[in-house]
């Protein structure tokens, strides 16, 4: 176990003061579900940590609020709170599904959305729906505030552009149309506790003639940075949902993935599987039955 001192600030302001004082020698601790594993494994990247700042009890970081067109979620909101929240269930149900697929009930009671984003695991479950909603983070430091798109905040696997004196305060996104189609599909080794092998979040909105007017397709766990696959989304805009079209869009997503990652040892597996997951998610979101 890595050894450290422990601080428990009661407010955001007190937390920012501590971050300013300790700079890179402090580690923010929200739910702890990633960090406790790393502390125990004496992870090399934590060797200079002198103090852990426990933010899990800062009330100002625990909220889910609806404000006009937007929903804002405090960074220390747990996955259990996210998966059961009525506002999110209405306007972002695929985010609730993703939250519900994180870890186990025990993990969801402590693991937080801000912690998950800060860890920036490429196999994150909440990242695909959050990226699909073009979510932005609000980040504070004693120098001021900045807003940044989630897709720009995460720079690579386990890499973000957070600075040592900064705290993720909240994440916000525009409400989606509750009448539209949502889907979150995850492939893991087993149902509970599985780290995603691959996952996909999909949003499909159609007009009264059934023509697609808004679409978001975000595969997860298959590229270093989770992002919308605009090439595939363009294939769908202006079209009518259809099984064969969904199949073709799935293939487009997997081509894009291979374009980013190159051919790897896992490509012969991932290429058809991600295509199939995207097709399944689109079928689910648009109410088209799967064959067989």
């Amino acid at each position: 176990m890595i050894r450290f001192d422990y601080k428990k600030p009661a407010s955001i302001e007190a937390c920012l003061d501590l971050l300013n004082y300790y700079q890179g020698k402090a580690k923010l601790f929200a739910g702890g579900t990633d960090l406790m594993v790393e502390f125990r494994a004496e992870d090399e990247k934590l060797k200079d940590i002198e103090v852990v700042i426990d933010i899990s009890c800062i009330a100002e970081l625990k909220f889910i609020e609806s404000a006009g067109e937007y929903i804002r979620i405090g960074s220390c909101t747990t996955f259990a709170e996210i998966s059961e929240n009525p506002i999110l269930r209405k306007y972002a149900p695929f985010f609730c599904e993703a939250g519900k697929s994180v870890g186990s009930p025990q993990i969801r009671n402590t693991g937080t959305i801000g912690g998950s984003i800060g860890t920036a695991s490429p196999a994150s479950d909440p990242a695909p729906p959050l990226v699909a909603m073009d979510s932005s983070l609000t980040i504070l430091s004693s120098e001021g505030k900045r807003d940044v798109l989630l897709s720009e905040f995460i720079e690579g696997a386990y890499r973000t552009n957070i600075r040592p004196n900064e705290l993720i305060v909240s994440i916000h996104f525009k409400k989606l149309n509750p009448e539209a189609g949502f889907s979150f599909v995850k492939l893991g080794r087993r149902k509970a506790l599985a780290i995603a092998r691959m996952n996909v979040a999909v949003y499909v909105e159609t007009d009264k003639n059934g023509i697609v007017i808004d679409v978001r397709i975000v595969p997860g766990s298959c590229m270093p940075v989770t992002k919308r696959i605009t090439e595939a989304e363009h294939m769908f805009l202006g079209q009518i949902p259809d099984y064969e079209l969904h199949e073709a869009i799935g293939k487009k997503v997997s081509e894009t993935m291979v374009g980013v990652t190159g051919k790897r040892w896992s490509t012969p597996y991932k290429e058809p599987v991600i295509a199939s997951l995207v097709k399944r998610a689109l079928n689910q979101a648009t109410g088209i039955k799967e064959n067989g």
Binding site: R3, G32, D54, G103, P105, Q106
Partner: protein, 158 residues
């Protein structure tokens, strides 16, 4: 590194300890207070053998710093008992349904079942499976555990 003084209520008893700031709740419960019914299995939040209730919520005590639990109310397997001070109906049901084999997962399984049945007196099979989805058992194949929770629900209705 200075030690931290914490106070918790464990199984309805107020307890105090001076702990290392990096100590896990699991270690403090076992080593400082002797609640060795809380088991250390995987140590990485997957197996659920160390499950306890913290302020009424199920957590893996290997994933919680003891310092975080300052001022909290904790329930371990030692705090689960029937009205007569003997076995709780859930524990009786585990024995009767053959849900205890090696017994290592049992404390965590009982805590998860206790939490479920305190919120849902009539759980479906899916509710039971969801409730114990964060607890691994390598002996029973889970069927006897699911049967035990159903049996416990019956017993607790009486």
């Amino acid at each position: 590194m200075d030690k931290i003084k914490i106070t918790m209520i464990v199984n309805k008893q107020s307890v105090e300890a001076e702990i290392e700031p990096y100590a896990r709740l699991l270690d403090v419960l076992r080593d400082d207070f002797g609640f060795t019914g809380v088991k250390e299995g995987c140590s990485i939040g997957e197996c659920g053998a160390c499950t306890v209730l913290m302020n009424g919520k199920k957590v893996n005590s290997c994933m919680v710093l003891a310092a975080q639990a300052d001022g909290c109310e904790i329930v371990t397997i030692e705090g689960i008992e029937g009205p007569d001070g003997k076995l709780h109906p859930i524990q009786e049901a585990f024995v009767e349904a053959g849900a205890v084999q090696c017994g290592f997962c049992t404390p965590g399984m009982v805590i998860s079942s206790y939490k479920l049945l305190s919120e849902n007196q009539d759980p479906s099979e899916d509710d039971i499976k969801e409730a114990i989805s964060g607890n691994l058992c390598r002996c029973t194949g889970y069927k006897q555990i699911v049967d035990a929770v159903k049996l416990a629900a019956e017993k607790m209705k009486k």
